[in-house]
């Protein structure tokens, strides 16, 4: 039985000649877990909003959306609100009230449910999600992952029949994101809830979904079982780059047959199809060491007198002209390190040197003039004009440092997460800093945008700039960093080139490295693994059955 029956749906925004959606037909069956992917701007969000009446944008619509055989517009208000649940991207801004319990009750209050029914549903949902510990907390004190889980729980308390999610994990760190997707999968298995999710973090989502939908330029390009869709995608590198590493490796090596999806399947695929007589690639020449751009010497820092130490003897040194990535989990002190380097937070003891001079000797804001600039995690705090062009003119950047003409006349808030990051970076570069500090730059970026961003950083490096990045994103660090460092418990516990660093880690490493572990040595990125496979060649005989 179809929950949603969508036939020949077309949509265009007012005063916009190009249609946003073209001829989309789709049936979503009861209990299905469907994942919708596509590049930024391909119309994913617009499409999802057509399925939730309250959020449907103004514009020309043709075609029909039926929910359980009834046109969407014919549903009564209560059913429209409660039967179709919708979770959006930003965890913080979706929350309405100040307390966790009140947020869970919000939708139920709107439905004017009796007291006992509300209590029962809230008790049920709190127990299912295990949020009893923070039931009485303030919503503002929750972490990003907890906030998004709360948004999900608040929608589910209304007992929807179908759940629509618009990039719910884009603002979460990888661990919280994986947990969120696991929760969705469990919901689907436990309760038979129908789920339609737009997503660009596909490493975790594709292996658990029943159906993969691919959109491009407002059209539904592919629609079907994930392995079949992946096989059809090998012609489209810009869409393929977002897929799970195992699948990309198989496509890269033009594998025919069933496409591996998980790390486990990827390992089997390698073992069955390839030799490993050559185990590693020749090591690239290590660059000669140059003068230090940023040095931390035994830095200790705490925010409050009685509070715990956030940095506990932090010590490292970044060389001029390198891209240095600091990785680590939430609360390990990564962001604090960056803020201390930008003199936004004073250390209690220890010394920080920028280009050989102690931070204290930079007087009268001279630190921020042609020396150091920091891009914060929340880039929206950077913008204040009506268009990107005005933003750049304001800080005296006549022409953008990299191609972004198509963004110049848009409002900064209308850009996607990744585009906002690029616009903010252009603004920062106007001050001509020699040392760039970036906090979680890949948050909210899709895979294609990440590759583009890595290119931009490499160009900056070629111009002699030093870049320090704090990130959760191991895949991004593996492709763009010269050196990576692991931050844990307020200290740096390991430093090395991506090859050494990730090959040494078993769990906290890239998917490719987990696939090739024990088979090849030091293969961290897809290119390295593919090159090794090609050098070794395929196994001659088919594996015995």
């Amino acid at each position: 039985m179809a929950v949603f029956d969508i036939a020949h749906l077309n949509f265009s925004y007012p005063e916009c000649p190009a249609p946003a959606l073209q001829d989309i037909s789709l049936q979503l069956k009861q209990g299905e877990f469907a994942v919708l992917c596509g590049a930024t701007g391909s119309g994913k969000s617009t499409f999802l909003r057509m399925l939730k009446r309250e959020l449907t944008p103004l514009g020309d619509i043709s075609g029909e959306v039926q929910f359980h055989g009834k046109p969407l517009s014919a549903l009564d208000d209560r059913t429209a609100a409660s039967a179709i649940g919708f979770v959006m991207q930003k965890p913080e801004q979706q929350i309405v009230t100040d307390k966790v319990w009140h947020e869970l009750a919000f939708g139920l209050e709107n439905l004017h449910l009796p007291q006992r029914e509300m209590q029962r549903r809230i008790a049920e949902i709190v127990s299912y999600f295990g949020i009893g510990d923070w039931y009485h907390r303030e919503t503002a004190d929750l972490s990003g992952g907890q906030k998004q889980l709360l948004n999900l729980a608040a929608v589910l308390a209304m007992q929807p029949e179908v759940l629509i999610l618009d990039e719910p994990t884009a603002q979460l760190d990888p661990i919280a994101a994986a947990e969120f997707i696991t929760t969705l999968h469990r919901l689907c298995e436990d309760t038979g809830l129908t789920i339609l999710m737009a997503e660009h973090r596909l490493e975790e989502a594709v292996p658990v979904c029943d159906r993969l939908l691919v959109m491009e330029h407002g059209r539904l390009l592919l629609n079907g079982e994930p392995r079949k869709v992946l096989a059809a995608l090998s012609e489209k590198p810009e869409l393929l780059c977002a897929m799970p590493a195992a699948a990309r490796l198989a496509c890269e090596l033009s594998h025919e047959g069933d496409c591996p999806l998980t790390v486990r399947e990827g390992r089997r695929f390698l073992h069955e199809n390839f030799n490993n007589s050559v185990r590693s690639l020749p090591l690239p020449e290590t660059a000669p060491t140059s003068a230090a751009a940023l040095q931390f010497k035994d830095v200790w820092l705490r925010y409050e007198k009685q509070g715990a130490d956030i940095l506990r003897g932090m010590a490292f040194s970044v060389q001029t002209g390198e891209i240095f990535c600091i990785l680590g989990s939430n609360g390990s002190g990564k962001s604090t390190t960056l803020r201390a380097a930008a003199a936004l937070q004073k250390p209690c003891s220890g010394e920080i040197r920028v280009f050989g001079k102690p931070l204290k000797t930079y007087k009268n804001q001279s630190l921020y003039r042609e020396c150091l600039a920091m891009l914060p995690q929340d880039v929206q705090t950077v913008f204040l004009r009506n268009t990107v062009r005005e933003e750049l003119q304001e800080c005296g950047a006549s022409d953008p440092p990299f191609p972004m003409e198509h963004l110049l006349d848009l409002h900064p808030y209308d850009l996607s997460g990744g585009e906002q990051q690029i616009a903010a970076l252009a603004k920062v570069l106007a001050a001509n800093p020699r040392l760039l500090l970036l906090d979680e730059p890949t948050k909210g970026m899709d895979a294609a945008m990440k590759l583009q961003f890595a290119d931009i950083l490499r160009n900056l490096k070629a111009d002699g700039k030093t870049v320090v990045i704090v990130t959760h994103d191991v895949e991004f660090a593996a492709i763009c960093a010269d050196r990576c460092a692991m931050c844990f418990d307020g200290q740096i516990t390991a430093v090395g080139t991506p090859g050494e660093f990730f090959a040494g880690n078993n769990f906290y490493t890239t998917a490719v490295s987990r696939i090739t572990r024990g088979f090849f040595d030091g293969a961290v990125t897809l290119e390295q693994a593919a090159a090794l496979c090609r050098t070794n060649g395929r196994k001659e005989a088919a594996p015995c059955l």
Binding site: A81, T97, D98, L111, N364, L437
Partner: protein, 292 residues
């Protein structure tokens, strides 16, 4: 076992408004004295030795309030001494002292109440009046700290971008204005998402109900009735003039009869009620744990 602060917010509000009302309309020294004493004892029972600064502040305030009246007002018949050609009278001194006792007593009650009446209880109370009002309150309670946090973030990121060119006042003011403008844009843009989230969860489709986190039990009902009865007795005594004290021109008690005594006893019971509940719970706990 519920302490006083665990009672239903309606009971708490009725009790608090009653005590505050009586304290404000009655200047009978025994009443003001009882109020201050009970307020201090209740605060100490709840907070033990913490909040020393609060006590210090109230003590200083008490002295100032008590001293201001005799220095400013020269009514009264009994002159104690003459200061700068102005007589300082016994009546004005006692009046000042009584006012100080009353005001500091009420302030102590307010201090305890702000500790007890958390935002959740206030929401419950406003929700009983109107669920919409309660939602607006809840959203503002969320937005104020959110704004403060975002504005600090904006300040830091604009600073690290090199917004402040020099260390001078003009540049700082200009920077603050820009930060404010960023904050407003951020609030408006993100308000749209909150509005979408509200609408998609059925806000505005009809009447709203209110999720209640507090139950109104028999004890709550009993205590509310008791509070109202005691307050009624006090009000009767005050209304008929049985608890009126004249300071000027000379000290005098206008009426003293059984209603006065009943009023004072009722007020004593009323203001000591929270402390009694609090102590009783403490004792019961001690008894129960001693048996384990």
């Amino acid at each position: 076992m519920r302490t006083f602060s665990d009672l239903n917010p309606i009971t708490l509000a009725v009790w608090f408004l009653s005590v505050a009302g009586i304290c404000m309309f009655c200047n009978f020294p025994v009443v003001t004295g009882l109020s201050l004493m009970a307020a201090v004892v209740f605060f100490l029972v709840r907070n033990k030795t913490a909040h020393r600064k609060t006590h210090l502040f109230f003590a200083v305030l008490f002295l100032v309030l008590a001293l201001v009246n005799p220095l400013m007002s020269h009514n009264g018949v009994t002159v104690l001494f003459v200061l700068n050609h102005n007589p300082v009278t016994l009546e004005a001194t006692l009046y000042g002292l009584n006012s100080a006792v009353m005001i500091v007593g009420v302030l102590y009650w307010f201090r305890s109440m702000t500790q007890i009446m958390t935002s959740e209880k206030l929401l419950y109370l406003t929700g009983a009046l109107s669920p919409k009002l309660s939602l607006v309150l809840s959203m503002s309670l969320r937005f104020v700290p959110l704004f403060a946090r975002q504005s600090e973030k904006i300040g830091q990121s604009q600073k690290a971008l090199g917004l402040y060119k020099e260390d001078n006042a003009l540049d700082t003011i200009r920077g603050k204005l820009r930060e404010f403008s960023v904050l407003i844009t951020w609030a408006l843009e993100n308000g749209i998402i909150t509005a979408d989230s509200m609408e998609s969860r059925g806000y505005g489709i009809g009447r709203r109900s209110q999720f209640r986190t507090f139950r109104f039990t028999r004890i709550d009902a009993l205590l509310t009735l008791l509070t109202l009865a005691l307050t009624g007795l006090c009000a009767a005594a005050i209304g008929t003039g049985a608890l009126t004290f004249g300071f000027y021109p000379a000290l005098c008690i206008e009426r003293w009869d059984s209603l006065s005594i009943a009023g004072i006893l009722a007020f004593a019971a009323l203001v000591l009620l929270p402390t009694i509940i609090e102590l009783e719970v403490n004792l019961r706990w001690r008894f129960l744990t001693s048996r384990i």
